[in-house]
Point group: C2
Chain length 548, copies 2
C-alpha cells in the first residue's frame, strides 16, 4: 500500500512537510517552519508536530528537500534534534541548510547532494529529481516510482520561460512522466486563485531599471533574504545604472555569501562596497539591498524607517523599493513602515503602485497546463490555505479529472492507495509546535489562552491574609492590576471592589470554608462578577490568599 | 485669520474630525471613530482626543457631518457627552445618527437637517452644502465662505457617472467654485495610490446578477451594514433572479429600516422574508444579506462559517459572496472565515477572485480632475494614511499646484492662513482616546504597554513573607505564573528561580534593605535576569513581598 501523510502545509501557508510511505520505506519531503500569526503572541516560530515520525522512525529512509525556503527547511534543525536521518537536497539548498544547522550546533549531519536527473533507490521506492523554476535557484520536483505507480510532487514552481538563471521548469520530463502514466500528483496551490499566467521574474528587472535610472539619491531595495534571483536582478540593475552595491542584514549577507560561493549568484567584486565604507560614496552612486520587506520590527528597513539604524539615513531624493509581497497578516506593519519611510522624505515604491514584485508560484493557466501534461490518476493539491486547495481542485476538475479522484487533505489525514483505489485513512497526530525563546514545545495551548486573555483585559491580583484560627482578615487586602485599567481613573471602583472582596472573605470565614480551592473559587467568582458589572472587562483574576 | 485644525483622519484611516476657525466662529467637520488595530488589545474603538474643543467651546457654532459612515459619525455620542452643540447633517446621516444617539441615551439633542444647495450663516462663515457621490447615500461636501476666501471640503467622494441612486457628485458647482476662486481645498485621499478611475458601483450589480443566476443553492451576501447602495443592488439582483431576501445582523437591520423609512432604499415588501420564516422557503429561492465582511468574531457570517448560527446552515451548492474590501489589519481573519466557508461546502466569491466590490473613493484620475476644476490656491490632502496623503500631494503637484502651497498636515497641527499666506501653526492637543468596555479614556498608554508585554511573555508573580525584625524569610516563597510557560515542562527551571529569589531576599535582609521600593526593585531585577537567561522571555514581574 502507498500512503501519503501530510504533516504540514495543508490549510496553511508554511511548515510544509509530507511523508510518502510504501512497504517498509518512508521518505519525508520537506520540513518547514511557519511564522506565527497574531493569535499566537510571543511565539517566535511554528513547526510541525513530528510525533508521527518518531512512531515510524525505523522505516524512514531520509528527508528530501525540494528547495531552500524557510517554509521548507526551517524545521530541519528541530527535527534533527529528535530524529537523525540522511538529508537529500540540491547544492544550494544544502548550502543554506548548513548555515542553519551551524546556528543550532548541528554540524556534521549526513547531507547528500542531489541534482536534477539523479535517481536514489530504496527497497520499494525510487526517487528521481527534476528541475523546477521558483523564486530561489536550484529547486526540484520529485518523481517517486513505487510498485503501485509513480507519485509526482511538483515542489514550489512556476513556468517562467525566461528565468534569471535560465533554469526553466522541466516540462519535457513532466510530459514524458505523463505519457508513461502518473498515479498521483501533488502540486503547488499558492496561486490557484490567480487567473492567467504569472509574469516572468525578468519583468521586475525592467521595473528596477526604470526606477534606478531616474533617481537622484541613494536607492534602498528590500526583499526576502532567500530570494537569490531577486538579489541577482538588483545586482545587474545596479551594474547597468553604474552604481555600487552594499548588502545589509545578517540573513541576507549569509545567503549572498553561500550563493556566490556555490555559483548561484554572479556578483562582480568591483560592484560591492563594504558596509563601513558606505560614507565614502556619493549617495547617487549607491544601492543598498536589505531585509525588512515584511515590516519586521528588528529588520534593517524598519530600523532605517524609524531613524534607528546606526548609519543609514534617508533624505529627500532617496528611493526605497519594497520588492516583495506582504505575507498575510503582515499588511499593517508593512504599511506602517511605508508611511514612516515617506515621512523620512524618501519616495517609496511597493507592489501596489509599481511592478517591483512578481510571485514565484504558478497561476491558474500554468497549473492547468501541468495537470494536462501529467494527467495523473489521482490529484492532491498541496501548499496552500484551504481556499487555495479548493480552487486548485476546481482547476483539476475543469481539465477533466473526476471529482472523486481529487482529495483535499488536512494535516494528519493520510491518503491510502492500493490496487482497489484511493481512500482517506485514519488520522495520525499532527499539529503545531510552538518555538518560543530557547524552548520549543513548552508553550501549550493553555499558555496561549492565558496570554490572549491577558492581552485583552489584563490581570487582577488579589492579596489577602486571613487568620482562620481567630476568624479574621488581617490588615487591608491588597489589589494589584496590570493591563486592566488606568488606576487613577479607576479609584472609585477599586473601593467597591475591595469592599466586595472583604465581604467575600468574611463570608468564607463565617461559613468555615478552609479548603483553599473552594476559597479561591469564591474570591475569583465574586471579583469576576463585580469587575464585569462595573467595567465590562474580564481580566484574569489571581487570588493570593495567605493563611497566618 | 483662518485656521484649520485636524483632530483625526490624517496619517490614519478613521476617526475623521477637523475644525475650521475664522474670527470667533469655529465649525467642526465630522467626528468619527476608528477600529483599533492589533497593537491595542482589548480596545473596542478609538475616538479623537477632544480636549482642544473644550478649550474653544464658546466659539463652536456646530458640528457638520458629511455622511453617515462610522469613521465620520462614530464619535458623536462621546463628543456630545463632553460638549453640547447643534449638529448639521443630511436626512439619512441624521437618521443613522439618531439610532446611535438612542443607544447612548442621548435622545433630544439638537439635530438640524440640511440638503445640497442650502446655506447656513454664522458671523464670519457661511456654509454651503454640495452633493457628492459615495458608498452611502446622501453624502455632501462643504464650501465655507470666509472673509479670506472659500474653503472647500470634498467629503468622501467618487465621480461615479452612473450611481445607484442617480445622485452624481456635483461637478458643476465644483467648477463654478473653481471659477470664482477657492482659497483652500481639502480632498479625500483614500485611493490616491490607485491609478485610473474607480469603476461605477453598477459594475457590482452586473457581477451579482451573474452569480445569482447560476446558483442552485441559497445565496449569502456579506457587506458593510452602512453600504445602502450595495444593499440596494442586492435587493434588485434578488428581484431580477426571482429570489426572496432576508436581512440578518442587528446593525444591518437597523440601517435598512432607517434607509427605507427615509426613502433611501427601495425595498418591495413582497421580496422580504421575515427571519423566522426562512425554513419555509426552498434554498434556491433565498438570498440572505448579512454583516461579517471583515471576519469580525461575533458577526453573522463568522457564526455561519463556524456552525454557530442558530439556524443558517451551509450545504453544498450554496454561495457566499463577500461584497467588501478587507480593511487593513483584517486580512487574516477574513481569510480564515473564507477558508471555513469553503470547508462548509459553499462556493465563496470575494474581491480577489470576482468583481463583487468596488470602492466608494475616487482614484487618481478623478482626484486630478477635481483638482483641475477647483484650482485651489492651497491644498491639504485629508482622509488617509501618510502614504496616501503623500501620493495625493504628488497628484496636486502634477496638475500644477506649487509644492509650497501643498500641506501634508498631522493630527493636531493647524494650518493658518492670513493675508500674508499660509503656514503651519503651533500644535494643539490631539491623539487617540481608547473606548474599552463601558469606560472611555481610562485605558492609557501604560495599560496598553502592560497588555502588550503580558500578551508576549505573560506574567510572573513572586510572593514572599519576610520578618525584618528577626531577619528571616517566613515559609517557602511562592511563584505564580500565567501565560509564561507550560508549568509541567518548566519545573526544572522553577527550582532554580526559587533559589535565586531566596538568595535575593536573603541579600536584602542581610544588607538591611527595608525600603519597599528598593526591595521590590532587587527582586524584580534578579527574577528578570534569571528568567531571561533561562528562557529568553521577559514576562512582567510583580513582586508581592509582605512584612510580618
Amino acid at each position: 500500500m502507498l500512503r501519503l501523510v501530510p504533516l504540514g502545509g495543508l490549510g496553511e501557508i508554511g511548515k510544509n512537510s509530507l511523508v510518502v510511505e510504501c512497504g517498509e520505506d518512508a521518505v519525508i519531503i520537506d520540513a518547514g517552519m511557519m511564522f506565527p500569526d497574531e493569535d499566537m503572541p510571543g511565539i517566535d516560530l511554528v513547526i510541525p508536530d513530528f510525533t508521527y515520525l518518531k512512531q515510524i522512525a525505523w522505516r524512514i529512509r531520509g528527508l528530501v528537500l525540494t528547495h531552500g525556503h524557510e517554509d521548507h527547511i526551517g524545521a530541519v534543525p528541530y527535527l534533527l534534534k529528535e530524529l537523525d536521518m540522511p538529508i537529500y537536497g540540491t547544492r544550494l539548498t544544502l548550502g543554506l541548510l548548513r548555515n542553519k544547522l551551524a546556528e543550532h550546533g548541528l554540524e556534521g549531519r549526513e547531507l547528500r547532494e542531489v541534482a536534477p536527473g539523479m535517481e536514489i533507490g530504496f527497497s520499494e521506492m525510487k526517487l528521481r529529481f527534476l528541475r523546477v523554476c521558483h523564486s530561489i535557484p536550484d529547486g526540484v520536483g520529485l518523481a517517486i516510482d513505487t510498485p503501485l505507480g509513480t507519485v509526482l510532487h511538483t515542489g514550489d514552481f512556476k513556468l517562467d520561460q525566461t528565468p534569471i538563471d535560465g533554469e526553466i521548469t522541466d516540462c519535457n520530463t513532466l510530459a514524458s512522466l505523463g505519457e508513461k502514466g502518473v498515479l498521483l500528483m501533488l502540486s503547488d496551490s499558492t496561486n490557484a486563485e490567480v487567473e492567467g499566467m504569472m509574469p516572468s521574474e525578468r519583468a521586475v528587472g525592467e521595473a528596477l531599471d526604470e526606477l534606478f535610472k531616474c533617481s537622484a539619491g541613494k536607492i534602498i531595495v528590500a526583499s526576502f533574504a532567500s530570494h537569490i534571483h531577486r538579489i541577482q536582478q538588483v545586482v545587474r540593475a545596479a551594474e547597468r545604472a553604474g552604481r555600487k552595491l552594499a548588502f545589509c542584514g545578517r540573513n541576507m549577507l549569509g545567503n549572498v555569501n553561500t550563493a556566490v560561493r556555490l555559483g548561484y549568484l554572479e556578483l562582480p567584486e568591483h560592484l560591492v562596497v563594504p558596509f563601513d565604507e558606505l560614507p565614502r560614496y556619493r549617495r547617487d552612486d549607491l544601492v543598498i539591498m536589505c531585509t525588512g520587506s515584511q515590516g519586521e520590527p528588528l529588520s534593517v528597513l524598519t530600523r532605517i524607517a524609524y531613524h534607528e539604524h546606526p548609519f543609514i539615513r534617508l533624505t529627500r531624493g532617496d528611493r526605497v523599493i519594497i520588492s516583495a509581497r506582504p505575507v498575510p497578516g503582515n499588511e499593517k506593519s508593512i504599511q506602517k513602515t511605508i508611511d514612516q519611510l515617506f515621512k523620512c522624505g524618501a519616495e517609496v515604491f511597493y507592489e501596489k503602485i509599481a511592478g517591483v514584485h512578481v510571485s514565484g508560484h504558478a497561476a491558474q493557466e500554468e497549473l492547468k497546463l501541468v495537470l494536462n501534461m501529467v494527467k495523473p490518476r489521482y490529484f492532491v493539491p498541496v501548499h496552500g490555505e484551504y481556499r487555495q486547495l479548493w480552487h486548485h481542485a476546481r482547476l483539476a476538475e475543469e481539465v477533466g479529472i473526476a471529482p472523486g479522484d481529487i482529495f483535499i487533505l488536512e494535516n494528519g489525514t493520510p491518503l491510502e492507495i492500493d490496487e482497489g483505489g484511493a481512500r482517506i485513512g485514519d488520522p495520525v497526530q499532527a499539529g503545531m509546535i510552538f518555538v518560543d525563546g530557547l524552548g520549543f514545545g513548552d508553550t501549550a495551548d493553555v499558555v496561549l489562552r492565558d496570554r490572549r486573555q491577558l492581552s485583552r483585559d489584563g490581570i487582577f491580583i488579589v492579596v489577602a491574609c486571613i487568620d482562620q484560627g481567630n476568624r479574621r482578615i488581617m490588615g487591608e487586602p491588597d489589589i494589584i492590576s496590570r493591563g486592566f485599567a488606568y488606576i487613577p481613573e479607576a479609584y472609585r471602583i477599586m473601593d467597591e471592589v475591595r469592599e466586595e472582596l472583604v465581604r467575600t472573605l468574611r463570608y468564607c470565614i463565617d461559613e468555615g470554608i478552609s479548603d483553599w480551592v473552594v476559597l479561591n473559587w469564591h474570591v475569583r467568582n465574586s471579583m469576576s462578577r463585580i469587575l464585569f458589572e462595573k467595567t465590562r472587562r474580564k481580566p484574569l483574576i489571581i487570588p493570593i490568599i495567605m493563611e497566618m
